[in-house]
Amino acid sequence: MTAGDVILHWATMFALVALPVAFVMTVLRAVLGPTLADRVVALDMLVAIAIGFIAVIALKTGYHLYIDIAIALGLVGFLATVAFARFIQTTAGKVKAGTPKPSVTKKGKINRKTVTGRKGK
């Protein structure tokens, strides 16, 4: 094992420890919320970390085909974020995250504090 191999081994080990820590921190944000937009931002970040992790695994194992998988995952992540952004925009304040029906108050008014976490009038 040459000096270069040792340096590379420890750098890979550092990456393999740091990336899961970052992943867990981002998952915490996705769980905590508080708004739907926060969760989508966390999802975007999770995809970025997963791409980095796949790249490190590709370097460690020598299966360089993983790079193509990382690029495909990036494309899917981008499309997912765009779709979620459209969803947030079209259902602005009408639908609570995770529930199919909008919560409606007495007069048929839509309760606006659902998605946004903002107090209604």
């Binding site: 931002v41 970025a48 790249a55 990036g74």
Partner: protein, 112 residues
């Protein structure tokens, strides 16, 4: 792998991991959606890009390196688009900025 080739690859690996860690810390600790988005879209993109470049260099094959660079460029192109769409949607949905994110010195002087 020779030493002079392993050093830049290792630096890219460690740098990318640190960027990912800092981006995740920002996503977890910053006060509102817009500041969290700023951490995720900039530091997060650089993190995955640096790790991809490390893999491309470490493979020692031009075809892999070109693919990794193409992936990095793709992420650089798409990250601002998705961040802008998300910020716009959040703003239209009525997500407010946090108190510490806005600074209004003039208002402080006014009597409430």
């Amino acid at each position: 792998m020779t030493l002079w080739f392993a050093i830049p690859v290792s630096l890219l690996l460690v740098g990318g991991s640190l960027f990912a860690l800092i981006a995740a810390l920002g996503v977890l600790r910053l006060p509102d959606v817009y500041t969290r988005m700023h951490a995720a879209s900039k530091a997060g993109t650089v993190a995955s890009g640096l790790l991809l470049l490390a893999t491309g260099l470490g493979s020692q094959e031009p075809a892999i390196l070109v693919r990794a660079v193409a992936g990095f460029i793709f992420f650089i192109l798409t990250a601002p688009v998705s961040a802008h769409l998300l910020a716009r949607a959040a703003h239209l949905a009525g997500v407010r900025l946090d108190k510490v994110s806005t600074r209004d010195d003039y208002r402080r002087d006014q009597v409430d």
